[in-house]
Symmetry: C2
Subunit: 166 residues, 2 copies
DNA sequence: GTATATTGGACTAAAATAGTCCTATATTAA
DNA sequence: TTAATATAGGACTATTTTAGTCCAATATAC
């Protein structure tokens, strides 16, 4: 249902990789080590750099590294960096002129949900993502029932919420 | 960052509308009352019908109504119905052959987050979404920082998490 | 100076989303 | 039985987003 994009998932893999590197790590190394295509890695590293999650050095011996400790980077940070601050509502902008406004009272609840989700995202750090006990394969669509089930079967690790509403 | 689709938002508006209708409500009425284009309303009502959230009657005097009490319909139900069970991971499928698997250890954390989010979604019912104290305009991208800020400014209702990571 | 890297942005291709429309079927009421 | 009203199902197009690639410019180390 809700989903993270493939690039965000790749980005997470890259960040996790960087938590394991002591020194500056060029994009080519990251690509080689993660198996993600170099152009894609370059693009992601640039994006992550702009958001301040990683820092870079140009030139020979240059590369990228985390700009703060893995423990201080949350899942929310990663999503903000890679999925952009594009959470703008169509009708909450400056020149808002939503023709549904008078009939609409559903938006508020999504705010409530938003807050809860944000909390969950702030609660998970990159350090936890690195945890080797999690042996899941690359996941880029995680937030749905089918995915949970499939991965339960695959890994038998999730103590997931069984979602069957009467 | 994470976002719900426009159609999901519309669908929520429609469901909220139906909570206020005692009798069968034809698509044309829903469209007229919500301001959403009729073809779109028809499409959404069909989808919601298939998922079992609403029930329908054909023919003259026919229409749609909720199939259970608003209190028994959760946000998770709505998302499952409208965004589909498309939460399938690229590399957790049957013929999984993810070339990153050996290098990837980031997937597990998303599961953790998934569980937390799912909890949040199960916790909000359609009855709460209907609450008239929520006077937000139609929202179809809610789960990001910018959106929260904008809507804070607009409504001053959210006691949101101020998200500034050091 | 040369090789190594990042930076920034343009660009294309692919996929998901949004929106529309048509035909078939069921129901009610006159 | 006919006419009017509605949903059911699906095909279809257009738009937008996402994914992925590439190039020229700039900075650094040796």
């Amino acid at each position: 249902m809700l989903r993270i994009s493939k690039l965000t998932d790749y980005g997470t893999v890259i960040l996790v990789h960087l938590t394991r590197q002591a020194r500056l790590c060029p994009a080519s190394d990251v690509a080689a080590d993660t198996g993600i295509a170099l152009p894609t890695v370059q693009k992601l590293l640039k994006t992550l750099g702009k958001s301040g999650l990683i820092e870079s050095a140009r030139g020979a011996e240059g590369g990228y590294r985390l700009s703060k400790a893995p423990h201080d980077i949350s899942a929310a940070d990663i999503l903000d960096a890679l999925e952009g601050p594009l959470a703008i509502t169509e009708c909450s902008g400056d020149d808002s002129s939503c023709e549904h406004e008078s009939n609409c009272s559903a938006g508020g609840a999504w705010q409530q949900i938003n807050t809860a989700i944000r909390k969950a995202l702030l609660d998970v750090s990159l350090a936890e993502m690195r945890n080797p006990s999690n042996e899941f394969p690359l996941v880029y669509r995680v937030l749905g029932e089918a995915g949970v089930q499939q991965q339960n079967e695959a890994s038998e690790l999730i103590t997931g919420i069984s979602k069957d509403n009467p």
